[in-house]
């Protein structure tokens, strides 16, 4: 395959991700963990495996977290440069800033996970845009096609005319910058790359590439789906210490210095990070990712969930179909409901707006530094803001703002 030597990969990683509240109150969207790594790291790894070595991360919101985690990229054997977007003025503004640093380049949205082979295809000669077909195109920008060539690209619309959408991955060359400069602010007040592309389309042709792997995370519960998808592909790897009388079935990853104590029953696929203490006597079910320095104690059951670093469920807890932030501690007996008695889809209130999660099973989305009291009960689809205290025997549901005390 012919790849230009100086091809760079530009990753858009500046966004706050308001629809990912409360998890993004304390981290940028691209640093949300899925299967033990930030979303951005999965992209970096896939792009690297596709043959890209030089990266430019466009950062903004809580940029130091991205910079501290990835550094100059040596750990991944790639080069990473950073550009701070300053004002978040839209995708065209972000890409316009890198004019002096690139020739032929790939742009990908850092908060969507792209597959290695798709990135490889996009890298082939000529400008290209990645597309996918989805069931509900309302949340995305529609793309019109004419014999495999792109004819027009739209922003989100209420009544989408087709199911083919812009996946958020592009192959551009220097020509795009001429059109970015001419791009005017859109009705929502941003400079959109789609407007620049439409102007470019009047002069040039852009190929379309249908992606085979694509996982978009818009709302917090999409992390659970993305997590499941990646976990399906993992292989067994045990680096920690496993006690006698434990049961480990299927593909389970156990990190360094982690101890699995007697009586633990772990059903893969499951990822457990480093320095954790698991058990004794706990039940960890499929599609669970546990971060570093966590403790899952006696008589706890965890299922289809993401538990971030330094969080504990030490005794008598049930956590299902949930995302638990960093530094959380569940009091003894804290249980999380994840299924309505009428088995209907679960609605969530996020940023004051009611949203159908389209999931029959959904537990809690818990921000960082939350503590719950003993025997507290958390209803299905509850959002708990960071730095919140839930009192003993409290009964919580709906949306709880950050730094609240629920008694």
């Amino acid at each position: 395959m012919e790849i230009q030597k100086d091809m760079k990969c530009v990753v858009l990683a500046a966004g706050e991700g308001k629809r990912m509240h409360p998890l993004t109150f304390t981290r940028p969207k691209v640093m949300l963990p899925v299967a033990g790594r930030p979303v951005l790291e999965w992209n970096l790894l896939n792009a690297k495996n596709a043959g890209l070595k030089d990266f430019i991360f466009i950062i903004g919101y809580k940029s130091e977290m991205v910079r501290n985690y990835f550094g100059d990229g040596k750990k991944w054997r790639v080069n990473i440069e950073y550009i701070n977007q300053g004002k978040p003025l839209g995708t065209a503004h972000a890409i316009g800033m890198i004019e002096h640093f690139v020739n032929d380049f790939i742009v990908l949205c850092g908060d969507t996970i792209f597959g290695k082979n798709d990135i490889k295809n996009i890298m082939k000669k000529g400008m290209k845009i990645g597309l996918v077909e989805v069931e509900n195109a309302k949340e995305y920008g529609i793309v019109e096609l004419k014999e495999k060539k792109i004819s027009r690209i739209h922003e989100k619309m209420e009544e989408p005319s087709s199911n083919i959408i812009n996946a958020g991955i592009y192959h551009f060359n220097k020509k795009i910058f001429n059109f970015i400069k001419k791009t005017k602010k859109s009705p929502r007040g941003e400079y959109e790359i789609t407007d620049s592309i439409n102007m470019l389309l009047e002069k040039e042709t852009i190929d379309s590439i249908f992606l085979k792997e694509w996982r978009d995370v818009v709302y917090p519960w999409h992390l659970i789906d993305a997590n499941e998808e990646i976990l399906k592909k993992i292989n067994k790897k045990i680096e920690g210490k496993i006690d006698k009388n434990t049961t480990i079935i299927g593909n389970v990853v156990v990190g360094k210095n982690t101890r699995i104590l007697a009586g633990s029953y772990i059903e893969g696929p499951v990822i457990i990070g480093e320095d954790c203490k698991i058990g004794p006597n706990c039940y960890i079910r499929p599609y669970t990712s546990i971060g570093n320095n966590c403790h899952i104690g006696n008589a706890c059951e965890v299922k289809n969930s993401i538990i971030m670093d330094h969080s504990n469920m030490p005794h008598l807890n049930y956590v299902g179909d949930s995302v638990i932030g960093q530094n959380c501690n569940l009091g003894a007996g804290t249980t999380i409901a994840n299924l309505r008695l009428d088995k209907n889809n679960i609605a969530v209130i996020l940023n004051g707006k009611k949203i159908d999660s389209k999931r029959r099973k959904l537990g809690v989305i818990m921000g960082d530094n939350v503590q719950t009291g003993i025997n507290s009960v958390i209803n299905v689809g509850t959002i708990i803001g960071n730095d919140t205290l839930i009192g003993l025997s409290a009964n919580v549901e709906g949306e709880i703002q950050p730094k609240t005390r629920v008694l």
């Binding site: 940029s63 130091e64 440069e81 950073y82 550009i83 701070n84 300053g86 800033m97 002096h100």
Partner: protein, 604 residues
């Protein structure tokens, strides 16, 4: 106070410079300007707020530049006086925040050498000095030029001949470097840059920094490179304008050590042991003054009451302090009197009316204000600026302090003109003034003590403040601060007056704050505290740190460092401000915008 920004990178410099400058608007907003090097050096400046400049300015191509927002302290608010200032050959542009003390001498020297000045500012001389010293290397020229300057400055300089270089320097005015990727920044403070980077390098007094797109080098006065560490700032942008403080009021309280320096700067010569004001002000003070009237409203009125004690003590001239809205209708006006109008904004309608009345009656008039070019400065025969920079919190803090300092300087000046105080005595006071910022800083460092006291009184329905002498107006100010931001009813009384009425209101639940200084009324104050305690209230004493006796009399004691009874009014005020702030904060009040109040009252 002014705000400065510098940029060297890959973005359109004009956009970045104006964007960052907007976040410095709190430092001044009477005029603004920008200079960018594209093909050549271009500048654009105008009178008015930054948003006005932004609308008018044409796009200037270029990726390196400087911008400035001005709060005039020398030279009127005009386009010529706005920054940047250009050197004679128009190849070097300079922006400056601070005050050059020896500018007169330097200006005369430069004029002798044939330099033509375009503005009335002290800042322009820096541009000319740098040009005189320029031999192909900008930082060397800056270094040599700065050696001639006395005073405070934070500057940023660009030069058409070296379009890849941005040079900054500081002495007693703030300056930080923001480190980016393929770009670097300079600014008066951190919030201006946070949108673009949160990695900062702090520049110290006497240091010069040289910024290219990819490097930051810092040198000391002797051109030796200094190794600097990057610091990571973790504030949210929301908190940033308050420099990490939760409220503007608290930020402004913590600004006060600098405010004191600013109010004194350029006005004291310790070597000559003299106080220097502009000639027309000195002429006003150098009259055979029969009496002095101070007219003002609100907090400025209390500053006037403090001024009364200071001026009477140091000059022997009787001083009458009048509320402006009363004085304009009922006050007596004698041609032998000096009428001093105190107004922070220079636009307070009542004070302006009183000032006009006095002037029409033939009195000599002097305005003490924070805003150059304001109506008060135009009406009065002379004016003295408090030089405290814009104040955003509605409750006046740093401007009150600087008004008192200016009144103290006026008292010293008249006192020495009238030979009421000798040069030794006035030198003592100058030294005390010099130590004052340090003492205020010490109080701010121990503000936890005040929080403990604030917890004691936060649930009270009513709080009384008492004091004698200069501490009486401080009681009034302490009560005003408390009531305006915490909504607790508060009253200040002369300590001797309590028994003539207010005693009836004392209960267990009305704490009394007693301000005690170790002067000849000390024993009387202890007696007053005893009287109060006998009626049940808890007494919180604000006392000298050497005062060991007071613990036996009061329930709680807050201490202030002091070396002069007269200037202890400043340190005590800071304690009273902190107390009001923390009470209001514990009660969850809207501190920066109290209900029903506006910053400057321009209606009668």
């Amino acid at each position: 106070m002014c705000g400065i920004v510098g940029y060297n990178g890959f973005r359109d410099a004009d956009k970045v410079l104006i964007d960052c400058l907007k976040r410095l608007e709190y430092r001044g907003y009477d005029s603004a300007g920008i200079g960018v090097i594209g093909k050549k050096l271009q500048i654009f400046k105008d009178v008015g707020e930054i948003s006005k400049l932004e609308q008018k300015i044409p796009h200037i191509d270029g990726c390196i530049g400087i911008s400035h927002t001005r709060w005039a302290t020398m030279g009127a608010v005009t386009k010529e006086n706005a920054h940047p200032h250009l050197s004679g050959n128009k190849k070097i542009a300079v922006i400056h925040n601070g005050i050059i003390e020896n500018y007169k001498k330097l200006k005369e020297e430069l004029e002798k050498q044939g330099v033509k000045f375009r503005s009335q500012t002290d800042s322009e001389i820096i541009a000319h000095l740098i040009e005189k010293n320029y031999k192909g290397n900008l930082e060397d020229a800056v270094c040599s030029a700065l050696k001639k300057l006395k005073g405070s400055y934070a500057i940023a300089v660009i030069c058409e001949e070296e379009p890849d270089k941005l040079v900054g320097a500081r002495n007693e005015s703030p300056l930080v470097v923001g480190v980016g990727d393929n770009e670097n920044f300079l600014a008066s403070d951190i919030p201006a840059l946070l949108k673009y980077t949160n990695r900062m390098i702090f520049i110290n007094d006497g240091e010069i920094c040289v910024l290219t797109k990819n490097s930051v080098k810092v040198f000391n006065e002797n051109k030796k490179e200094v190794k600097k560490k990057e610091e990571l700032i973790k504030w949210d942008i929301k908190d940033a304008e308050k420099s990490g403080f939760p409220h503007f009021m608290l930020k402004e309280i913590y600004d006060q050590p600098d405010t004191i320096n600013q109010a004194v700067r350029g006005r004291i010569s310790e070597i000559e042991r003299s106080i220097n004001f502009p000639d027309n002000v000195e002429r006003l003070l150098n009259n055979d003054l029969g009496s002095i009237y101070i007219v003002a409203c609100g907090t400025s009125f209390y500053a006037g009451l403090v001024g009364k004690y200071l001026i009477e003590q140091l000059t022997g001239i009787p001083v009458f302090v009048e509320i402006a809205s009363e004085y304009r209708y009922f006050g007596t006006r004698k041609e032998t009197s000096l009428v001093i109008a105190i107004t922070q904004s220079g636009e307070t309608a009542d004070t302006l009316a009183a000032l006009r009345e006095a002037k029409n009656a033939g009195c000599k008039t002097l305005a003490i204000t924070n805003v150059i070019g304001s109506t008060a400065t135009r009406i009065a025969d002379g004016y003295i600026l408090t030089q405290s920079g814009p104040e955003i919190g509605v409750a006046a803090t740093k401007t009150f302090i600087s008004q008192i300092i200016v009144l103290f300087l006026v008292a010293l000046k008249i006192g020495s003109i009238k030979n009421e105080i000798g040069s030794d005595e006035s030198y003592q006071y100058m030294r005390h003034l010099r130590d004052l910022p340090k003492q205020v800083r010490a109080i701010l460092d121990r503000s936890d003590d005040v929080i403990d006291i604030a917890k004691q009184i936060k649930n009270s329905k009513s709080v009384f403040f008492i004091g004698r002498g200069i501490n009486y107006p401080l009681s009034l100010e302490g009560a005003l601060k408390l009531k305006e931001i915490s909504y607790i009813h508060a009253e200040g009384f002369a300590a001797g007056e309590l028994k003539h009425g207010p005693f009836a209101l004392l209960t267990k639940n009305t704490p009394v704050v007693a301000i005690v200084t170790k002067d000849f009324t000390y024993d009387k104050m202890l007696a007053n505290i005893g009287e109060v305690k006998a009626r049940g209230p808890e007494v919180i004493a604000i006392a000298d740190e050497d005062d060991t006796e007071i613990d036996k009399h009061a329930d709680f004691v807050i201490r202030y460092p002091s070396n002069s009874t007269m200037l202890s009014c400043i340190t005590i005020t800071v304690l009273l401000q902190l107390l009001a702030y923390h009470v209001a904060n514990l009660r969850g009040c809207s501190i920066d915008k109290p209900r029903n109040l506006a910053k400057s009252v321009t209606v009668e």
